[in-house]
Subunit: 504 residues, 2 copies
Amino acid sequence: MTDPLPGERGEVEPVTPPAHGHPSPSFAFTARVRLRNVPGMLGRLTTEVGRVGGDLRAIDMVRVERSDIVRDVTVHAVDAVHAEAIVRALHHIDGVEVLEYSDRTFLAHLGGKITIQPRTPIKTRDDLSMVYTPGVARICMAIAADRARARTLTIKRNCIAIVTDGSAVLGLGNIGPEAALPVMEGKAMLFKEFGDVDAFPICLATQDEDEIVATVQRIAPTFGGIALEDIAAPACFGIEGRLRTSLDIPVFHDDQHGTAVTVTAALISALRVVSKRIEDVRIVVLGIGAAGTACTRLLLTAGARDIVGVDRQGILVRGSQQLKGTTQRWYAAHTNPRHLRGGLAEALAGADVFIGTSGPGLVSREQVASMAELPIVFALANPEPEIRPELIEDLAAVVATGRSDYPNQINNVLTFPGFFRGLLDCGAQRVTDAMKLAAAHAIADIVADSLHPEHIVPSVFNRAVAPAVAAAVRAEAERSGLAHRLPTEQDPLHPPELGVPENS
Amino acid sequence: MTDPLPGERGEVEPVTPPAHGHPSPSFAFTARVRLRNVPGMLGRLTTEVGRVGGDLRAIDMVRVERSDIVRDVTVHAVDAVHAEAIVRALHHIDGVEVLEYSDRTFLAHLGGKITIQPRTPIKTRDDLSMVYTPGVARICMAIAADRARARTLTIKRNCIAIVTDGSAVLGLGNIGPEAALPVMEGKAMLFKEFGDVDAFPICLATQDEDEIVATVQRIAPTFGGIALEDIAAPACFGIEGRLRTSLDIPVFHDDQHGTAVTVTAALISALRVVSKRIEDVRIVVLGIGAAGTACTRLLLTAGARDIVGVDRQGILVRGSQQLKGTTQRWYAAHTNPRHLRGGLAEALAGADVFIGTSGPGLVSREQVASMAELPIVFALANPEPEIRPELIEDLAAVVATGRSDYPNQINNVLTFPGFFRGLLDCGAQRVTDAMKLAAAHAIADIVADSLHPEHIVPSVFNRAVAPAVAAAVRAEAERSGLAHRLPTEQDPLHPPELGVPENS
């Protein structure tokens, strides 16, 4: 490197450490720096770290170069902004070059993104004897006498597991359980932020269907629900099906049903925009994996009568030799009533709705032009949609994607926090299609008064969504007799040994 | 019931709902009330609930009696004190009798005792894109490239699982996973309160050793350590041993090692009180289960040379036909150097130290009187010790129990929060006897300056304990090369794609 002239990098900006808070490992960062190999350089660096309020924790040698030394410097800062300010201050030292450093997104992940907190403090002997021994023994015995009391007296009331095997994470593919954990932590944050649901990530060191099922069955006692996440098809179908029938808590694979509810909500709105009825429209689904299958199933429940599924081998046709597995056979048996054959082009000609859960750039402008009047295009492949909205803005009546940088983002966060909030609140032991449909209508109804081709779903930050979804799920559970009201004659709040009030 | 005369229950005390806060499900309670069967009674009750600031949520019929009706009334209160005030107010209504209600300990458990919180808020699109898609994908790929980065960039950094099968919970026995959950939640609170460790309870719906091992192996990716809890002997030995050798995170069965560390700490102190050396004393251990075995092993590591184990069949003797399983054979092979035979009486005659991890009242005053001068008696059976301290206050030099209502409470909470704090901070992948011994010395050293026969261990609320234990574990890990320093040339903070600072 060429040494910069003094002042070449501009004036050193004043760095004032935040007035409140102390440097902590939560905001540790490591900067890789190249130091001119002259006496006193390291001292100048360490002095500068101290001057700007950083807590220097470690200096590690990386390598010696011709006239420089490369070192890693680990510093605790007060917060992320402070950390960046320290890095800039180091970079301004004459003879120091910051080669790279852990950045803001990485800083946001340091140490993980969720924490487990006591709901009440343990400060006194009285606290301790109530939440731990000896008081806790009474709670244990009450639950031992009636296991159902765990729903009231433990975290089972509000806690779900987010379970993944890391086999189909985002669009990243099979990256394994450790690499999937940041996504599951992010999902746990969303569950809490929008649904006040305590969600804990369980990333499994197996991708064997039998082992996944057995493991979830064995850890189930702690949880009031299971959110399956990012498990590849077709294993996800068998896993969900077996857990649904063997567990007494609700099981919900978000990649299937979260997507299906959100897509159905968006389609209800989009059909309102173009004044068509779901019973009348021709719908094409491209990509018959977990999401495409679940969307189709829910749209059929919602009243759709003409859905054509297209996968790699083309249109799924009843009785075809090319159908793979029970899911594709189910699909073909319940769709394509006009017995279309061919590929995407044949399917899309005259269609009213396109729903893509497939891959980037698979749809052409010509294909959209071949659709019926006022076509609806949901190009949900992420991050690169089946067709870019700007290519069809003159053709399509409504366009939605999975991206946040276009209008109409189809984001499952509209569904899953409120859906589980509703399930936990009514104690429902299973999820029904009617609940999903009720949730979809609830989401669609939120934007019903402000409907616009570019506003068919609420913003993910609309705080009205989750409560509305939860209420819809609860109401449907009550309607269908699946709600489990807690105060009954076998009330879990009434362990036998409870006495009358002391002050009576 | 006989109706009380007006005023018989005294004046109605004024109930003022707390000025801050709203009634919430966290402080829901249900009162079972007997109402005189006359018109307007229910109205008087509901009016009273509202008057004192309660939020009436449900009224359920329980039964109709001759001239009364029994109902369950579910109310949301602002806090536990408010809930009790409401119950008293109901009881004061003429014609209303509160038969029972969910009490304060139950209220403290309603909805569970721990919660999962985001470490940063998700309020803006920028927050969302950093902690979830699309930003999170970079973190996932960095971990996919090097699994070890999960230790830095996910909750694995600070999160452990508290795993139980509910087979030996407190002194309650085999009560199953749901009934064990309140204890595990309490333990999670203690981990956080004293060690700042995020601990999550996993209660298993199996008591099969192979299934427990397989399940823990499969859920391990999320966790930086495994705390085994309340698993019955001898299964606990096999489970811990197999997990120790198969996992790359530390595994620690608290009933064994937490007890062993705490007992060893107490014994170090007690021997200081009576000026004896551990190498010289004769020690008797009664109850050779998980705790007794682990205590013996650690005391041998600490230098003890004469330990005699006594179980139901009497003194464990090398080569005896009565020895059951590998654990008892190991025990007999490493203890009883004087080849004593017989029962507890034979073992205790002339002994310096008694350590009981057995059952209530198994030791007599005469047996303590037969011990050597200045005997040390640790009667740890809970809640009822092997002998009550007041029965031997004139005989024993030092007495300790597991109870909080006597001096010298041997409580594992002195050990486990700090121990795991230390393990997580140094990234140690396994637990060694040297670490346990270092922790015991750290605990003992805290009371070294204030030593007294009734103060051989610190209070469980002494905030100096956990940091001292953590420091001792870290130091021993570093000494023995088991510490895993994070900033190295393969620094997990340095994913390859990191750029230079924006402002450079």
